[in-house]
Subunit: 433 residues, 2 copies
């Protein structure tokens, strides 16, 4: 069998919160001025109450509202595939499985949390959401999600991407998102750059500042973030909860679970339900592998300390592995992995030794992507291709040792909007960052 | 329930051949010189024997080879969705269902036949396939399919598309397809245009001639066509066979089955298994609706007569509705519907009154596409959006009459590669062809 589905109606009905399973509590975010823990009240300025409660929750299981399940069922459950062609191509005794999150209409795992966030904002009376987007993956997901709940969505899109990736902009606009090139003249944060240069290329840092400023200064508007925070990772656990049941159906439990890490949301979404077993002591030998680009090696080369979540220093201080909030990674094509830090939950589990990490260069990642496209047929996103590369390396090690390991990775998205990078790779013109 | 799957392993194991169910036999293709029926032997110059046998078969059910099922299972069965949000938005008592063929890796229904054709060529000892592609949908599907069987694939791509749609080219190249801008210097057919103007924009007619010429003059090479022919339509019946069982699971039999018609393959794929019931006399009231663009109104305004299948007159004469083989439709964005004729099987059934047809203008089709994207969340291909427009019109009529009709249409592909057309529509700049 190549594909494992779950009958419709069998989407998980609860999210798994891994925080209460940690052997020691997560360090709280700190106010940069007082160095005291930030109170939930402060977060209510930019997030609605239900999401703030989820952010600090110590409940292990949290009900998924019916209204959210209803929208998720447009594409969930997503298939789990056995990568038989890839196994044959590699000549490995390993069994390779992947969870296919690329089948969502926005093409990635991102709508799993976008739909939940839009819903909780809706029931909290919020009329508008702001967010930022770099390559456009998150902005697409939030535009897609908000339209179902009649919420307006404004996306500050880094101007260089706005100009270079018009199709991502059109995708957001087709889903009624309002896309603003950043820096813009509409916020104080943007204005200082815009007025000096209306064609300023922008940065994710500036775009975040614009989105947060607007949410903080308008009563009808909140802010939405696509990764890093506890509640975002929580919403992504549907991936791993489905995958666990599909792996059971296939008759296996993974020896290795793999995901690419940018902010940590697709990695956590797949791995946390399996990591929960390890934290409970049931699966002591489970290997959980976080894969990052060598161009932005947060876990493998960063320091574990308090740092700002954004570039300009508007957010609370967060305890995480960081390359420094002013670190600017090279412009690799896996735009979703270009984050100086990582989700605090992922960092804590890495620090405690429950997670391993590895970093790859861009060219070897694209080589893996093309191998996957030519065996399994799906064009993977550059971000997801980091997980593919690690899965292939594990499978090749199995070939050397003869181990029949069961490998599971997250295919977090497709690469239909990244074909210019494939073109460069195929022509031998890709920078080996 | 929004989505109806079939457990893996339940892909249909036989294709349905509608030819033997016709109340009178299909007129055979004729040799343009002798006006006598073309012998199967002549077709063997460009097609392998198993496909020629399927082309003229009078067997009602034809086994799908295991090797083909194995590759189809990478994405099949495809989901059947109930378009609940669209129903609510329209306020209709009608029940709207759609079969989602956009989930295949090349993004449309085309690989259903591409995989079968690649397989039969493989077992017939063919080493290379040639084909033509306009917008790139078919070329992508054949590149995708041939890589699984180790067959080389050369795609003659109309030069203007080659230059304007680089992402489609990259998609084919990632799947190992060799993409040649047409007219090329590699064939006599291409040379006469290429030598006068190396930047000649090309046409589908020239590209077909190049692909056929190469297949006819090289022993290791055959030609592959993505629509029109009986065996192509046969391979697409997996769509409707799955949909019938999924509709049963949902508890309904459709009153109206709708598909867009270019050459006829996605339309036939969905509708033939239902039309078979009508031909057998079991469902006399079933309405089957073919939807075409007003810019290329083959069924609604064409003549039913013998005509060439290609523009330059290399093919046999085919009995079909035609606008004339030299008809050049305006450059609408639904490139897959710009064909002067239609599949003979579809034309025969239309002539006999088993099928209705309707034609729409480009702007109203994009309006329907955006309505669909904003209710059901999926960005449809411009081709598929013709079916959506017809489904919406049926549902609105039900609102007026109070009828609770069950409507089923084919979402034959996604629109990720057509976002420039959406951009034009959203800006009010789309030509109303």
């Amino acid at each position: 069998m190549r594909k494992f589905l779950l009958p419709e109606g069998e989407i998980p009905r609860k999210w798994l919160n891994i925080a209460p399973l940690l052997p020691e509590p997560l360090e709280p975010p700190l106010d940069p001025e007082t160095k005291e823990p930030v109170s939930p009240e402060k977060l209510l300025v930019i997030f609605p109450e239900p999401l703030v409660m989820q952010e600090v929750s110590d409940q292990e299981w949290i009900d998924i509202p019916e209204e959210v399940l209803d929208i998720l069922s447009l594409w969930r459950p997503t298939p789990l595939h056995r990568a038989k062609n890839l196994e044959e191509f590699l000549g490995t005794p390993a069994k390779i499985f992947y969870k296919n999150e690329s089948v969502s209409p926005p093409g990635s795992h991102k709508p799993n949390t976008a739909v939940a966030q839009a819903y909780y904002n809706k029931i909290s009376g919020v009329k508008r959401l702001t967010t930022e987007t770099g390559a456009g993956q998150w902005g697409s997901a939030l535009s897609f999600a908000t339209q179902f709940f009649g919420i307006e969505c404004r996306v500050y899109m880094v101007r260089v991407s706005y100009n270079q990736k018009p199709y991502r902009r059109v995708l957001m606009e087709t889903w009624k998102g309002e896309v603003i090139p950043s820096p813009s003249p509409y916020t104080n944060a943007g204005k200082q750059f815009y007025e000096k240069d209306p064609e300023h290329p922008g940065s994710l840092g500036i775009a975040i500042s614009e989105a947060i400023e607007e949410a903080a200064t308008r009563d009808d508007t909140k802010y939405s973030l696509g990764s890093v925070l506890n509640h975002v990772l929580l919403h992504q656990t549907v991936i791993g909860l489905e995958a666990k049941r599909q792996m059971e159906e296939a008759g296996f439990y993974p020896d290795v679970v793999i995901g690419a890490v940018g902010g940590g949301s697709n990695f956590a979404g797949l791995s946390f339900p399996f990591l929960a077993d390890k934290l409970r002591g049931d699966k002591p030998n489970l290997k959980v592998l976080a894969v990052e680009p060598q161009a932005c090696p947060t876990l493998t080369k960063g320091e574990y300390r308090y740092d700002f979540g954004d570039t300009v220093g508007l957010t609370p201080l967060i305890k995480m592995y960081t390359l420094g909030h002013d670190f600017v990674p090279p412009p690799i094509h896996a735009g979703g992995l270009r984050y100086h830090g990582d989700a605090p939950l992922v960092c804590k589990l890495y620090d405690l030794g429950y997670i391993d990490a590895v970093a790859y260069k861009q060219t070897e990642v694209f080589e893996a992507a093309v191998t996957f496209a030519r065996t399994e047929g799906i064009i993977p996103a550059p971000e997801s291709s980091h997980a593919i590369k690690a899965a292939i390396d594990e499978a090749i090690r199995c070939k050397e040792t003869g181990e029949e390991k069961v490998i599971l990775f997250n295919l977090s998205g497709h690469g239909y909007f990244d074909l210019s990078a494939y073109d460069k790779y195929l022509r031998g013109e890709l920078e080996d960052s």
